[in-house]
């Protein structure tokens, strides 16, 4: 589904991703871990097509097509979803209205009929029950005045409604209380299917107890320096990152 080869990306003049390769198949869950500033969010933003990040080398192939030239909205319509590390507030625009706009764009792209406000609200209600989202959140302005945890939950709610093919979760677990973490994980697990892949960026093994990954990768200095199965996360939890860090950085640290 997703094939990243030797990806280099810069923000401003600074190179953040320095030859990253990763292969994700439909149905798989990949966890991405790594120290602060190693480039995890950068990878997520690059995949989503944020204009502040420039791809300077390598390729990203998604569903057999080159992503480089695609606009962020086209990527979204073709099934890439990013749950933001820092969800954005849009004052005055209700969550329901916002989601319906995106939902219908995606439907249109697939050649499916758009849903009117009534039918869409029905859908939202069902999904909100499943995810234990308070219905009042639906009519509040997008993320405005939401607590940190509510924002994260809202991202997963959007994920559940938009049903993407490739879902990228950027630290969705940080800021969640224990119950919310469980609810969010349940939501994600319910969405796991053979046609859908997940990239889960996290700092904590705890999340991976709930969302059990097929693969764990360690990102350091803009490169994947170690990959393994779910046990790798446990080992990282115990030993920290030093032993797997990129040689240059590890050297500098010594």
């Amino acid at each position: 589904m997703l094939e990243i080869k030797d990806l280099h990306a810069t923000v401003g003049k600074k190179e953040i991703l320095k030859g990253l390769s990763l292969s994700v198949k439909a149905g798989e869950v990949h966890a991405i871990m790594g120290p602060n500033g190693s480039g995890k969010s950068t990878l997520a933003q690059v995949l989503a097509g944020h204009p502040a990040y420039a791809v300077t080398g390598g390729t990203i192939t998604y569903m057999g097509e080159d992503l480089a030239e695609k606009s962020p909205e086209d990527r979204a319509k073709e099934g890439i979803f990013l749950a933001f590390q820092y969800p954005v507030e849009i004052p005055g625009v209700s969550n329901a209205y916002f989601l319906r706009a995106g939902y219908n764009e995606i439907r249109k792209h697939r050649g499916e009929p758009e849903l009117d406000a009534m039918d869409f609200n029905k859908l939202l209600k069902e999904k909100s029950k499943v995810l234990h989202i308070d219905e009042s959140l639906l009519n509040r302005p997008v993320n405005e005045g939401f607590s940190g945890g509510e924002k994260k939950r809202n991202e997963i709610f959007q994920l559940a409604v938009l049903e993407p093919k490739l879902a990228i979760l950027d630290e969705t677990d940080s800021g969640l209380d224990i119950d919310a973490l469980r609810a969010v994980s349940e939501g994600v697990n319910r969405l796991r299917s053979k046609d859908r892949a997940f990239l889960v960026v996290t700092h904590y093994q705890r999340l991976l107890n709930y969302i059990v990954p097929d693969f764990v990768h360690v990102l350091s200095e803009g490169r994947i320096v170690k990959s393994g199965g779910k046990e790798l996360a446990l080992e990282l939890e115990k030993r920290g990152y030093d032993w797997v860090k990129a040689p240059a950085a590890a050297g500098a640290a010594r």
């Binding site: 989503a48 097509g49 944020h50 204009p51 502040a52 606009s71 962020p72 909205e73 990527r75 979204a76 319509k77 979803f81 990013l82 933001f84 969800p87 954005v88 507030e89 849009i90 004052p91 005055g92 625009v93 209205y97 916002f98 989601l99 706009a101 995106g102 939902y103 764009e105 995606i106 792209h109 302005p141 959007q158 938009l162």
Partner: protein, 477 residues
């Protein structure tokens, strides 16, 4: 490039010219021109004198220089002060109206023919200097409601006109009001009798068509004791390279327990991207809550005009009276707006609310100017002002000038202000959910204006949202 700058230019789609024979008087302004306009309208001599008084006052006045707008000097002798489509007189029935005019309004989305009209809206259609048609008149007449062109009201209801004309905006109120009083051509008149709640929206659609003419209309709305009315005006003009002056005066009177709601969707031609052409919209609008427990509410959506200078105001004279001002003002490209309101608290326990939403894009400059005045005897007066600015891009400007003058210590005046920018991250967030840049901006701007849009009558709220989209498109480059 900033994503908001990528939008393509959209056209001002109301910019067409109607090919119709008009009677336009020669350019220039003097007492004879004032008399000529008055005689064309067959006015009583008191009104001719009223105009002449205004003209003499105007001659001694100077154009205001305090607004935060710049434009080259206006040559008042280079304007024609009267232009009317050549049609013997106002048609008695729709069949008699020049089909070109009917077509024009149809194109503007204002069908005049009976069967096509919105069922709950009565329209007075003003074309250049004259009213060409008023719909639903007979129905309203049965309820005792007068809704007709100003000229017709002068003929048929001179006692009402004489009583109320200039009672809220005196002839010498300001430079443009004095000019209007001298040369006003037509406009609408509404009178709602005691205790009657007007069952439909009344509206006037102003269309400037002729070149090199000014439009000086006059609107007067009176709600007698316990009466209620909701009124809406819309306006458009052809695209022309030269600037055209539009100096209107609107007066509202609400007697005891009466309420008047006045909504504007102003969409005059704004000029092109470089600021060439467009309407100078210099307008005086004021309402008087004359009786106790009365209410006047202004809602305006200002998207057009090269320059806007207007401050719909309320004099809260009756005890417990309520004044409201809800405004969305959009400037794009080279547009300039200096707009706001005045709330003058005179009666006891009077309340006013001001919600102003200014949107600046392109190289537009948007100024909010508002005055809240509480006189000595206005015990218990309250005002709440909320004034928000939204910037799109970084070459535009937003300015806020609140003037607060409180002479009674029991009064409570609150003022809140904010300035925000549409951020790249907001747009990216929308795009990540599948929404295009254009729709994202639309959505964000509409969210910003929500509190004002919900004050508009339903049909027009939808219209206003669309209009906002169009006026911001391409604007941002």
């Amino acid at each position: 490039m900033d994503p908001v700058e990528e939008l393509a230019t959209k056209e001002y789609k109301w910019g067409f010219v109607t090919d119709i024979e008009s009677e336009t008087i020669p350019k220039g302004l003097n007492e004879d021109v004032v008399r000529l306009i008055s005689s064309k309208k067959n006015e009583p001599s008191w009104l001719t004198e009223w105009r002449l008084t205004a003209f003499r006052q105007w001659q001694k006045m100077t154009e205001p220089r305090w607004p935060n707008v710049t434009y080259p000097p206006i040559d008042y002798q280079d304007i024609s002060y009267y232009s009317a489509p050549r049609q013997a007189k106002k048609a008695g029935s729709m069949d008699e109206i020049d089909p070109e005019l009917v077509k024009t309004y149809e194109k503007l989305g204002i069908p005049l023919e009976e069967q096509k009209r919105l069922s709950n809206v009565a329209v007075d259609a003003v074309f250049d200097s004259v009213s060409v048609a008023t719909t639903a008149k007979d129905y309203l007449e049965k309820l005792g409601i007068i809704f007709c062109s100003f000229s017709e009201a002068v003929q048929k209801h001179p006692e009402l006109i004489r009583k109320y004309l200039g009672s809220v905006v005196p002839t010498n109120d300001n430079f443009f009001a004095a000019l209007n009083s001298a040369v006003f051509s037509d406009g609408s008149f509404c009178w709602i009798p005691k205790g009657v709640k007007c069952p439909m929206e009344l509206s006037t659609y102003f269309r400037i068509n002729a070149a090199d003419t000014g439009q000086f209309e006059r609107t007067l709305i009176v709600a007698e004791e316990g009466a209620q009315v909701s009124y809406l005006e819309g306006c458009t003009a052809p695209k022309r390279d030269t600037n055209q002056l539009h100096a209107a005066v609107v007066e509202l009177v609400a007697q005891e327990s009466a309420s008047v709601k006045y909504s504007t969707v102003q969409n005059w031609y704004p000029g092109d991207k470089e600021g060439k052409g467009g309407i100078y919209n210099f307008v005086t609008k004021r309402g008087k809550c004359a009786g106790a427990n009365s209410k006047i509410s202004w809602t305006q959506v200002e998207t057009g005009s090269a320059i806007t200078w207007k401050y719909p105001s309320v004099i809260l004279q009756g005890d417990n009276s309520v004044g409201e001002f809800y405004s969305v003002a959009v400037v794009n490209n080279r547009q300039q707006a200096d707009t706001g309101t005045k709330m003058i608290h005179v009666g006891k326990n009077t309340r006013s609310t001001i919600v102003s939403k200014g949107i600046s894009a392109g190289k537009g400059q948007n100024t909010y100017r508002g005055q809240v005045k509480v006189v000595k005897k206005a015990a218990g007066a309250r005002n709440y002002t909320q004034c928000d600015s939204l910037l799109i891009g970084d070459r535009c400007g937003a300015h806020t000038f609140p003037y607060i003058e409180v002479q009674n210590h029991t009064a409570k005046v609150e003022h809140e202000a904010s300035t925000s920018k549409i951020s790249e991250d907001q747009i990216f967030y929308c795009k990540q959910r599948g929404v295009s840049t254009e729709n994202a901006i639309n959505m964000i701007v509409n969210g910003f204006c929500k509190e004002v849009f919900r004050e508009l009558p339903m049909e027009f709220a939808v219209e206003a949202q669309k209009l906002l989209g169009v006026s911001l498109d391409g604007s941002v480059g």
